[in-house]
């Protein structure tokens, strides 16, 4: 476990912290929400992120990336989680960027990776078809034609789908609806004929969309990776996304906890600071311990990515499940300890709580990942 940051990482952490706190505070998300901003993110901010090397964090320098690597990624996401920054990080960097890096041929890499690193292209992974994450349940069909394929189907909860320039669509080229084998990934420009995209307004005010594919034609050159071999690409891609979401969630948890502890020291009831009440103290101490455990898990998962270890799937499920549960605990306790003021929209706690639940449901909730962890552990 690379558990102590080196100098470069420490610097990156400080840069990221300062950037998100100063440039992308929570008021940024609030404004996007209250203005009902059609784009749902601030493009200038994303451009800034790219300039700082954040968008290219996982992309090699050959393709214009910054090569900060997974640990760097974790630091950036943790800081962004503290201010609930709305960016296309998960969709474009974690999911699509990783997929293209892993499975793309040199033409595809050359076309997409530099544009992603530069913050100029937003990509979305059109995978889910139901309310619960299920990466092998693919009903969307891709029927082979003379020069390529014809796609039909409906995708839900496509992160950044309505603002994406480019979609990566998971469709079935063979096998039954829930088979692991027989899924193929296709690069589909969002403006293709037959692609219809409607925004889904989620509780966390972040971007998601429903994508309908009606006789969308793609060429053989648009296949990402091998025909029928989509799951081999999806597995590591999704684990990258899960660990990234866990890192973001760690920042969120820490921020809510810090705010709550500060409130406990400040708020008075019955003539005493409420932080002096033992029941609240013990609950706070319990949360502290859980958060320490969360931090260790996230760091280890990032290290496993960095070292390209075999236990990445194991740790991805551990991180996603545990962070999901603890984020629920800490946001619920945070709200309860704040009392009435926590219930008001003016206060930020509700925003943290909403984001925590959406992040927990994204790419598999705690139930999904406990089951997966057990299966990976052979029991």
């Amino acid at each position: 476990m690379a558990l102590v940051l080196n100098e470069e990482q420490t610097l990156l952490n400080e840069t990221a912290a300062q950037f998100f706190q100063e440039q992308v505070p929570i008021s940024n998300l609030r404004k996007l929400r209250d203005d009902n901003d059609a784009f749902g993110i601030d493009r200038n901010i994303w451009k800034e992120c790219a300039n700082l090397g954040f968008a290219g964090v996982l992309i090699s320098e050959t393709y214009g990336g910054s090569s900060f690597g997974p640990i760097g990624l974790g630091l950036i996401l943790e800081q962004s989680g503290k201010t609930l920054s709305a960016t296309p990080f998960v969709s474009t960097v974690l999911l699509c960027g990783t997929a293209i890096q892993l499975a793309g041929n040199s033409t595809q890499r050359q076309e997409y990776l530099p544009a992603i690193a530069a913050g100029e292209r937003i990509c979305a992974l059109a995978l889910e078809e139901r309310a619960h994450h299920n990466p092998t349940h693919i009903e969307t069909t891709a029927i082979q034609t003379e020069n390529g394929f014809t796609l039909n189907g409906t995708k839900t909860f496509v992160l950044d789908g309505h603002i994406a320039d480019q979609l990566i669509v998971a469709a079935r080229t063979s096998g039954a609806t829930t088979d692991q084998h027989g899924i193929t990934l296709f690069l589909v420009p969002a403006k293709s004929d037959g692609v219809s995209i409607e925004r889904m307004q989620m509780a966390d005010s972040r971007n998601a969309a429903k994508v309908t594919l009606t006789n969308v034609t793609v060429s053989d050159a648009d296949v990402l990776g091998s025909v029928d071999g989509g799951s081999d690409v999806l597995d590591p891609v999704l684990d990258m996304g899960r660990i990234g979401l866990a890192a973001e969630t760690l920042g969120l948890i820490q921020e809510v906890f810090d705010q709550t502890v500060a409130y406990l020291k400040e708020r008075k009831q019955f003539g005493e600071v409420i932080g002096s009440f033992q029941a609240l103290k013990h609950r706070a101490a319990t949360m502290f311990a859980e958060i320490e455990v969360c931090r260790s898990i996230v760091l280890e998962a990032l290290s496993a990515l960095e070292e390209q270890r075999n236990d990445v799937p194991h740790l991805a499920s551990l991180a996603k499940a545990k962070l999901g549960e603890v984020s629920r605990l800490v946001t619920n306790e945070g709200l309860q300890m704040h009392g009435g003021v926590g219930m008001t929209d003016e206060f930020d706690l509700g925003l943290f709580m909403k984001r925590a639940r959406v992040a927990a449901a994204t790419l598999g909730d705690a139930n999904f990942h406990r089951d997966r962890y057990a299966t990976l552990s052979n029991y």
């Binding site: 889910e128 139901r130 309310a131 619960h132 994450h133 839900t156 909860f157 409607e198 925004r199 889904m200 307004q201 989620m202 509780a203 966390d204 005010s205 998601a208 429903k210 708020r267 009831q269 019955f270 003539g271 009440f277 029941a279 609240l280 629920r328 619920n332 709200l335 309860q336 009392g339 009435g340 926590g342 219930m343 008001t344 929209d345 003016e346 706690l349 509700g350 925003l351 709580m353 909403k354 639940r357 959406v358 449901a361 994204t362 909730d365 139930n367 406990r370 089951d371």
Partner: protein, 396 residues
């Protein structure tokens, strides 16, 4: 035929004639019959129904007839409730006046006050709101600061209330005010204030669920006639405690996940729908177990409410039970919504728009709203303190 059977028959006939057909259907949004000086009647039948019921005093069935109530015995009131349920009648009137202020007035107010206020409440002519909480006070309700200064023939009220339900629609407010700063509990009085008085202002509070059922209410140099004091000067805390117990009992009912809008349906059915079914069972075994744990606790809680009612009837009630119900019921309700969210996946996290069904959107909002259950009407922590002290006799 016994007298009660006769009453049942007569009631049934009267309802048949006097409850408009549209009042026997589920209530639509914005159709809640709050009454008041400027009522909104989305459906004109609502007014007819209210007037018919009020004419017999049946909006407050057990209140004495001389104050406009129905004058019914408990047994008769039970029959009336059963008959109303049988025809699926909507409530004729929703009113904090009936639920909260009325019982307090009946117990503590002067004869003159009863005659003045109670009939108006029964007829739904005045809409009341409750002014208890203050921004600085929170759980320490008795730490309230809003002052009522004795100015000879009137009180001059200054301060700020918070969490006043629908204050922006209310005509009058019943308030706890400080009339003696030198003591805490014994310096509080119970005052009725006309919201049209100069110096009263309200501002809705937007909640995390997006709705605004509560207001901040500002009282600046508000002149209140002395006759609006209920009960003795500086004895308002006694009234407040009674009302709070009442409020706790109302809120604790939520743990049962009743039929109110946005309650979201049965988790086990939703689990089958959203995450699949296998041999007739919820496919996700861990989720199935989580649902069962909650369902069992809910079942046990319902039985406990029933037992408490039976004990009360037999004169064996312990008294502090309302704190236990408030605590357990609200925690159950919060758990229920967390489980619904787990169950519905990303479909339970929509905010608005056609991508989600109305029931899905309601679930998201109700989930957020449920977080307030363990804060309003006395926090969970306060209820646990009360149980520890009053029931278990643990020292401060």
């Amino acid at each position: 035929m016994s007298t009660l059977e006769a009453f049942r028959k007569e009631t049934r006939d009267w309802l048949e004639e006097n409850c408009p057909q549209s009042m026997r259907t589920p209530m639509g949004e914005n159709e809640e019959p709050w009454g008041g000086k400027n009522p909104t009647w989305t459906n004109p039948d609502s007014k007819v129904w209210l007037d018919n019921m009020a004419s017999r005093g049946w909006t407050a069935p057990t209140w004495p007839k001389e104050y406009g109530g129905g004058g019914l015995s408990k047994a008769e009131a039970k029959i009336l409730a059963e008959e109303l349920r049988a025809i699926k009648a909507r409530p004729a009137l929703m009113s904090f006046g009936i639920w909260m202020l009325g019982p307090a007035l009946l117990e503590f107010a002067s004869e003159e006050q009863k005659l003045k206020y109670l009939p108006q409440i029964v007829r739904g002519e005045i809409r009341w709101c409750q002014g208890y909480s203050e921004p600085g006070a929170g759980s320490d309700l008795a730490g309230l600061q809003t002052s009522a200064e004795d100015k000879g023939d009137h009180y001059l009220v200054n301060g700020q209330k918070i969490w006043t339900s629908y204050a922006n629609y209310a005509d009058w407010i019943f308030c706890l005010v400080r009339t003696d700063k030198s003591v805490k509990h014994n310096g509080i009085s119970f005052l009725l204030i006309d919201m049209e008085t100069k110096g009263v202002e309200t501002r809705p509070i937007k909640l995390i669920s997006g709705s605004s059922p509560f207001c901040e209410t500002f009282l600046t140099d508000v002149t209140v006639p002395k006759e609006n004091l209920v009960g003795e000067l500086n004895k308002g805390w006694t009234i407040a405690k009674r009302l709070l117990q009442h409020e706790r009992e109302m809120i604790s009912g939520m743990g049962l996940g009743g039929s109110s809008s946005g309650s979201g349906g049965k988790p086990e059915n939703l689990a089958k729908k959203y995450s699949g079914e296998k041999d007739g069972k919820v496919a996700d075994a861990a989720l199935r177990d989580t649902i069962t744990r909650h369902k069992m606790d809910g079942h046990g809680f319902l039985l406990t409410l029933q037992r408490s009612a039976a004990e009360t009837k037999a004169g064996q009630n312990t008294g502090a039970a309302s704190s236990m119900f408030k605590y357990y019921g609200t925690e159950l309700n919060k758990r229920r919504f967390e489980i619904l969210l787990e169950t519905m996946g990303t479909n339970g996290l929509g905010w608005e728009g056609d991508q989600f069904s109305q029931a899905e959107l309601d679930t998201t909002r109700s989930w957020l709203r449920s977080k307030g259950n363990s804060i309003e009407g006395g926090t969970t922590e306060v209820q646990l303190n009360i149980i520890a002290k009053r029931v278990l006799g643990l020292p401060d």
